[in-house]
């Protein structure tokens, strides 16, 4: 029977690889996701019915199925109900659940380990043969807990329930904490007695704390990078389970995600022209106070709704730059409507998509796809920057940092070096924002004070609706 189980695991491993491969191309992505899900279902069912522990089939079926049904109901409901704008925090939430799962497995296995050991022996509690097993239990605990706590903080931050918190010496403290965790783990590994098993739980608590402190100072703009990194952490934690149970499906799936997740994290950093170290140590949110920087001052020009409608209606070529403001206002459908109204008047409308617009790479594409915006109207950054020169009007909808010229001109700016959409090349720029408050990265934007720029304040959806109504009357 265990032969069939191995074959099931082999098939599952292959589906993960094929799934990831297909997920990397737009045409096959959805099928790839389905294939990986199928492999996962197979692996789970095979484990329940075929896995043998010490020659015994698994028991407690009622409990296992109850737990799976509960998890499925909750998971599917949240995943189906959540708004497309809340996608990043949801990924973070699910990632945290996986991390917690890995940590709990370690907790339970540690309990077994202690129970099996001879309580009468005063010295080393563990026979040398289980050292490897204990090592992966410890690793699974540390990585899983860190990933769980970190993901929960990231989730809270993206939901807006938690603020960035950076204090002096925080990185030093994080370092000390990490060294402490590893030190305790090493000590426990080689010198565990029945008297110091409590250290295991101290490590557990310390790893949770580390996860919190690790994510807390990192600013909102960098959150996608952090989530992606924690995602690969959880992959490694899952792989630890693979070692623990000699389970190839867990091992391959975990390592695959660990490696792919790490690369994805680096790719995301590259899209922002920053290094991973810079993201983690530089802590965007904390730096802005220290840097101070030249404060952008001056006067900005406001444009009335009817003027804006007029300018747009009589332009030849209009480029829309969507940002998180559009997502928050759930204005993607209204935006598509405006596009249609303008096109009926003969205006050429396109979208300029910055790779990190919104709160995650690709976030804007997902939102606009939801609103039925045609795929070929979406220009990637390089293509868009070529076209701005010949564009009459750029309409910036709730985007800020991705159009901030400071990224090109001001070396002291925290976003210096990030490639941006060069909207200032266009003849007219209309910026829709709710207020003059700085954007997610917390820095001022000189674009708003340039002579070609005019501001159109208000909620993106409301403004777009009013614009559509205005344009129709012209």
């Amino acid at each position: 029977m265990s032969g069939i189980l191995s074959i099931c695991y082999l098939i599952a491993s292959v589906t993960y690889i094929i799934g990831l491969k297909m997920l990397s191309a737009p045409a096959t992505a959805r099928r790839g996701n389905g294939i990986a899900a199928g492999g996962m279902t197979l692996a789970i069912l095979a484990t329940i019915f075929l896995y043998e522990h010490d020659g015994q089939r698994l028991g407690n079926y009622p409990w296992i199925f109850t737990a799976i049904v509960i998890g499925t109901l909750i998971g599917a409901t949240i995943a189906k109900k959540v708004k497309m704008t809340a996608m990043p925090e949801l990924v973070s939430f699910f990632n945290g659940m996986g991390g917690a799962c890995a940590a709990l497995i370690s907790l339970s296995e540690f309990g077994d380990l202690v129970r099996q050991a001879d309580p009468a022996s005063p010295g080393l509690l563990l026979p040398a043969g289980v050292l490897g097993r204990f090592l992966v239990i410890l690793l699974g605990l540390i990585i899983g807990s860190t990933s769980f706590a970190g993901s929960m903080v990231a989730w809270g931050k993206l939901k807006g329930k938690m603020k960035d918190l950076a204090f002096r010496g925080q990185h030093l403290m994080n370092m000390v904490l990490l060294v402490l965790i590893l030190g305790m783990a090493g000590y426990l590994l080689f010198d565990m007695t029945s008297g110091n098993t409590y250290l295991f739980y101290v490590i557990f608590a310390a790893a949770l704390l580390y996860g919190v402190l690790f994510v807390l100072p990192i600013g909102g703009a960098d959150m996608p990078v952090v989530i992606s990194l924690l995602n690969s952490f959880t992959g490694v934690a899952a792989a630890c389970g693979g070692f623990l149970y000699d389970n190839k499906a867990m091992l391959t799936g975990g390592i695959l995600v660990g490696a792919a997740g790490t690369l994805l994290t680096i790719l995301m950093c590259r899209a922002m022209n920053r290094s991973l170290v810079n993201v983690l140590i530089g802590s965007f949110g904390g730096e802005k106070h220290a840097a101070g920087g030249p404060t952008v001052a001056g006067t900005y020009r406001e444009i009335s709704l009817s003027d804006a409608a007029m300018v747009m209606a009589y332009s030849k070529k209009l480029m829309i730059v969507p940002g998180y403001g559009l997502a928050v206002a759930q204005a993607q459908h209204t935006c598509h409507e405006l596009e249609k109204v303008l096109e009926d008047r003969g205006v050429e409308v396109k979208y300029a998509i910055h790779p990190v617009a919104g709160r995650m790479p690709g976030h804007m594409n997902v939102l606009l796809a939801e609103a039925d915006v045609s795929y070929d109207k979406l220009l990637e950054m390089e293509a868009a920057n070529e076209e701005f020169k010949s564009t009459d009007v750029v309409l910036v909808l709730g985007a800020n940092d991705v159009v901030n010229p400071a990224a090109k001109s001001d070396p002291s700016s925290p976003i210096y070096g990030m490639p941006i959409l060069e909207v200032e090349l266009a003849k007219t720029v209309i910026v829709n924002k709710r207020t003059m408050k700085p954007g997610y990265a917390g820095i001022e934007n000189a674009l708003f004070y340039q002579p070609r720029t005019s501001m159109l304040f208000g909620d993106a959806k409301k403004v777009l609706q009013d614009l559509i109504a205005e344009i129709k009357t012209i």
């Binding site: 799934g19 997920l23 990397s24 737009p26 992505a29 990986a36 899900a37 996962m40 692996a43 329940i48 896995y51 522990h53 015994q56 089939r57 698994l58 028991g59 407690n60 737990a67 799976i68 509960i70 998890g71 909750i74 998971g75 599917a76 995943a79 189906k80 497309m84 996608m87 949801l90 990924v91 699910f94 990632n95 996986g98 917690a100 799962c101 709990l104 907790l107 339970s108 296995e109 992959g235 899952a238 389970g241 623990l244 149970y245 799936g253 390592i255 695959l256 660990g258 490696a259 790490t262 994805l264 790719l267 899209a271 790479p361 690709g362 594409n365 997902v366 796809a369 045609s374 990637e380």
Partner: protein, 102 residues
């Protein structure tokens, strides 16, 4: 030194798997367009939900009166299922919207 070599010898299969998987993971998503970063992250997130297998084993091998292991296992299975089901469903929802455009 002796122990290190022994360790390698005893775990050589695992080491092969781990190293090959690392290269494979990098290779497989090497040329992903930035459009797909979010769905890909979400899909990878669902795949590491495979950790649920461990949770099922913890629960399935626990003695029926061993309540601590049962409780921990139960919570772990629920959380693992959340990761798997939620991850795949949400990825599918994202990609569904791409599909219409093709």
């Amino acid at each position: 030194m002796e122990t290190v070599i022994q360790f390698f010898q005893a775990n050589i299969q695992y080491l092969y798997i781990v190293i090959l998987m690392i290269f494979l993971g990098i290779e497989v998503i090497g040329r992903v367009p930035s459009v797909l970063h979010t769905p890909l992250m979400s899909g990878a997130n669902a795949i590491h939900g495979v950790v649920i297998i461990g949770a099922i084993i913890v629960m399935g091998k626990a003695g029926s009166t061993h309540y601590v292991a049962l409780a921990i296992g139960f919570i772990a299975v629920v959380l693992g299922t959340l990761n798997v089901v939620g991850g795949f469903v949400v990825t599918d929802r994202m990609l569904e919207m791409f599909k219409k455009k093709k």
